[in-house]
């Protein structure tokens, strides 16, 4: 038995195979460029509303370090973070549909692909769209004069990390969904996160205890990280935010792989 050694070596990660899930989605979306184009208009609409709308009402904001910035410059990175979070959340609806109703994955699993390949492939795909959206968002911000520091360029990979982390956790959560109604739970989690993670005003407005709670919000990590990069306020706490998001990403990936395997391999 020449194949024996393979039995003791753990199954190796095969990116080529999960890449074929990305290929599949590219084939599907080839005819749906409109969906991708909408990803470009999303930041334009968001930024327009805070620049022309809220910005005019609120005026300038004084940051904890004394820096004074326009409201638009303050809120824009937070909206980028929220957009990076929401993308994969919506993507998880599609994954749920494929999982429960279309039997797509069942057909795929009859091929050499494994549940893990599917999980990684779907998350990678959602991440590729996320990268496109994040880049478009940052370009629009730059064009509107809302990128105040060269560090702002790093907002693209930081937004991608955000999307990756939420995508992985979102996919894991999707596998627990029994029906469309359960998706309401996702909004019960993401909506307050969107509203209260220092998105529209500095955390210092809250009483101390609420500040502590908000600091543990996953979206807050991304908001604070992106805001620091875009405004050029760099400090060590950013490493903490990155570590938090990376931990989310890894645990989400492990969970998603396991859960998809449990659901599909019976």
């Amino acid at each position: 038995m020449t194949t024996l050694p393979l039995r003791v070596v753990p199954r190796r990660f095969n990116f080529g195979r999960s890449g074929r899930i990305v290929e599949r989605n590219l084939l599907v979306y080839r005819h749906l460029w409109g969906v991708l184009i909408s990803g470009f208009f999303e930041p334009v609409f968001y930024l327009f509303s805070i620049t022309v709308g809220f910005g005019a009402l609120v005026g300038d904001i004084t940051m904890p370090n004394g820096q004074v910035v326009s409201y638009a410059a303050f809120a824009a990175p937070a909206l980028l973070a929220a957009s990076a979070m929401n993308g994969p959340v919506f993507e998880s609806f599609g994954i749920f549909f494929k999982l429960k109703y279309m039997r797509t994955y069942e057909g795929i699993l009859a091929t050499p692909l494994t549940p893990r390949d599917i999980a990684i492939g779907e998350i990678t795909w959602s991440q590729m769209r996320g990268a496109l959206y994040a880049t478009a968002f940052v370009v629009v911000m730059w064009a509107m004069g809302l990128i105040l520091s060269p560090w702002g360029l790093l907002a693209i990979p930081a937004a991608m990390l955000t999307g990756f982390a939420f995508g992985a956790v979102g996919m894991a959560a999707t596998t627990y969904m029994r029906s469309w109604q359960d998706f309401d739970l996702i909004f019960v989690v993401t909506l307050p996160m969107f509203l209260f993670s220092a998105t529209f005003y500095p955390l210092e407005i809250y009483p101390d205890w609420l500040q502590i709670v908000a600091r543990f919000s996953p979206l807050y990590q991304s908001v604070d990280l992106l805001r620091g990069l875009v405004l050029g306020v760099i400090d060590w706490s950013m490493l903490g935010h990155i570590a938090f998001l990376v931990a989310m990403l890894i645990s989400g990936l492990i969970m998603a792989g396991r859960r998809v395997e449990k659901l599909l391999v019976t």
Binding site: L27, T104, L113, T114, V265
Partner: protein, 309 residues
């Protein structure tokens, strides 16, 4: 292990919680043959197929597919398999040809190779003029043919077909049988589950009958019918109240006789002669129907008519 066995199972068992779907079965599928699993719904056929297809782990026992253990070499086994599931799971988000393209890609085939094969496969499935159509616009028979074409994209050594013709009209069934027969001629090993005896007779060299997760009989279709049921069945129906009085006068007409509440079944190798004889004896049933023995007859004999809950 004999090298010409593509699948070997010993004491194969599959449990879902307390429920035993496959109960300690042994079988062997040889290279080049068409092997059938027969049985009613819930007999354990599909569970067995999924274990062979390396998409469902066995709970117990020994299983080797293409000389490999599915638990550790699932991807390698699936690389050489073609699978036609009981319910079509084509990709509804892609048109007909893209379904084949992406399936080929899942097997790691190059795009140029896939392109070469697609034309042939679409012709084989008689879907060449539907290549750009949406999958949802196809009829049931077309979807089935496309699923079979899809399962051939990697030129499998072993093709698994789970109830391939269930729900198809007679025309579509015969077309499928023809296609499967051609594959067999080309040397592809087939494993087929079905609950149609005629299908098993058409396609299978050897088959096992499953019931309640167990194998209750095995052999070639002809041998099975010969062993368990004569070729033909005469169904004789008398007016109400008459049957009881005449059953004993029919007993010698078949190798076996079964008196059901509404009719008498005579198992015989020559149904027409038995029917003639009934008339000669001056009996005038309401109806006489002569038909071929089916899986139902073999099956009901093997497992009895009592409903087991």
């Amino acid at each position: 292990m004999p090298s010409d066995s593509l699948v070997v199972a010993k004491g194969l068992t599959k449990r879902f919680g307390d429920f035993v779907a496959v109960d300690n079965i042994d079988f062997e599928v040889r290279s080049g043959e068409a092997f059938g699993f027969l049985g009613p719904n819930g007999a354990g056929k599909s569970s067995t197929m999924r274990i062979i297809g390396a998409t469902s782990p066995a709970s117990d026992g020994f299983i080797e597919v293409l000389g490999l253990d599915p638990e550790f070499h699932g991807s390698e086994i699936r690389q050489r398999l073609g699978v036609v599931p009981q319910e079509d799971n084509l990709d509804p988000e892609l048109p007909v040809d893209a379904n084949l393209i992406i399936y080929g890609r899942y097997f790691g085939l190059s795009r140029s190779l896939i392109k070469e094969r697609i034309e042939e496969l679409l012709a084989f499935a008689q879907l060449s003029d539907r290549a750009k159509d949406k999958v949802d616009s196809l009829s049931g028979g077309m979807k089935r043919r496309l699923t079979i074409a899809r399962s051939l994209i990697n030129q499998p050594d072993l093709l698994l077909l789970d109830e391939p013709t269930t729900g198809l009209d007679p025309q579509a069934r015969h077309l499928l049988w023809d296609r499967l027969y051609r594959l067999k001629q080309d040397g592809v090993t087939l494993i087929i589950t079905t609950h149609y005896m005629d299908e098993a007779e058409q396609l299978c060299d050897r088959l096992v009958v499953m019931d309640g997760g167990k194998i209750v009989a095995e052999g070639s279709p002809a041998a099975l019918i010969q062993k368990h049921s004569p070729r033909e069945v005469v169904e004789v129906r008398f007016p109400v109240g008459v049957q009881e009085g005449v059953v004993n006068r029919l007993e010698d007409l078949g190798s076996r006789i079964e008196a059901l509440p509404d009719r008498v079944l005579l198992y015989t190798d020559d149904g027409d002669r038995a029917a003639e004889e009934i008339h000669k004896r001056g009996l005038f049933p309401e109806t006489i129907l002569t038909r071929r023995s089916t899986l139902e007859d073999v099956f009901l004999k093997l497992t009895g008519r009592t409903l087991v809950d």
